[in-house]
């Protein structure tokens, strides 16, 4: 069991009802974590739409993570 800090943005944060939370999980990759959280928060965006960051750096969906990591899930960017 790993404990991580999750960061959510934009509609993911709005749908989750929070921008940040602690999360305990047994899964090993970010994409598995996303599936778990998508169900938990009834997110409407699919995996191919989101981007991940691990400890403030972009990372791939199949990246693993460690206990204590800060993990971000981001919807499509819309700056500019």
């Amino acid at each position: 069991m790993k404990s991580v800090t999750m960061l959510y943005f934009a509609q993911l944060s709005a749908q989750a009802g929070c921008a940040e939370e602690r999360w305990e999980t047994d899964v090993s990759s970010l994409q598995e974590l996303f599936a778990e959280l998508k169900q938990q928060h009834t997110w409407t965006l699919s995996l191919n739409k989101v981007r991940f960051a691990r400890n403030d750096a972009f990372c791939a969906a199949d990246e693993s993570f460690d206990d204590g990591d800060v993990l971000a899930i981001m919807p499509p960017m819309s700056g500019g």
């Binding site: 981001m74 919807p75 499509p76 500019g80």
Partner: protein
């Protein structure tokens, strides 16, 4: 240098930071908040950023432009927080010896900022609905479909 600003972007200091005696061409792009989007009236919007990653990714975009083009200076700033139509959302400026490289790099930078820097636009419409803009949900050039929440 890529920066985020919670206050109105001041164009002139940004521009002046790029002045150089050996540069011959300067190109800037500004994204302005429009009062309409896909046929709906826009009353205001909010830009949210993943600030730490936005700063490193914004810097990476400018570094990539300097590698790819022959530039003498680059600078970009993105506004964060609440904006109304007419306000400046993003400023990009590039100077080079010749204009070709300035134009191309400026275009490259704004395209990359929009696509890769973690900033999100929350539009609030005059009909009281609001929407997190999703450029990837385009059905064509100018039509978006995304989650719309009607304010209660």
């Amino acid at each position: 240098m890529f920066t985020l600003s919670h206050k109105a972007i001041a164009v002139e200091p940004l521009r002046q930071s790029l002045l150089r005696l050996d540069a011959g061409g300067f190109c800037s792009f500004e994204g302005w908040v429009r009062n309409h989007h896909l046929g709906r009236g826009v009353e205001r919007l909010e830009y949210e950023a993943y600030a730490k990653l936005a700063l490193t990714q914004g810097a990476a975009v400018l570094d990539a432009a300097q590698e790819q083009f022959d530039l003498l200076g680059v600078r970009a700033e993105h506004r964060i927080g609440e904006l109304v139509p007419g306000e400046l959302a993003v400023w990009v400026g590039v100077c080079s010896v010749h204009r070709d490289q300035a134009f191309e790099a400026c275009r490259f930078i704004i395209d990359e900022i929009k696509a890769t820097v973690p900033i999100w636009k929350h539009e609030f419409y005059t009909d009281r609905s609001n929407e997190w803009v999703d450029p990837t949900a385009c059905h064509c050039d100018h039509r978006h479909v995304a989650e719309t929440e009607v304010q209660t």
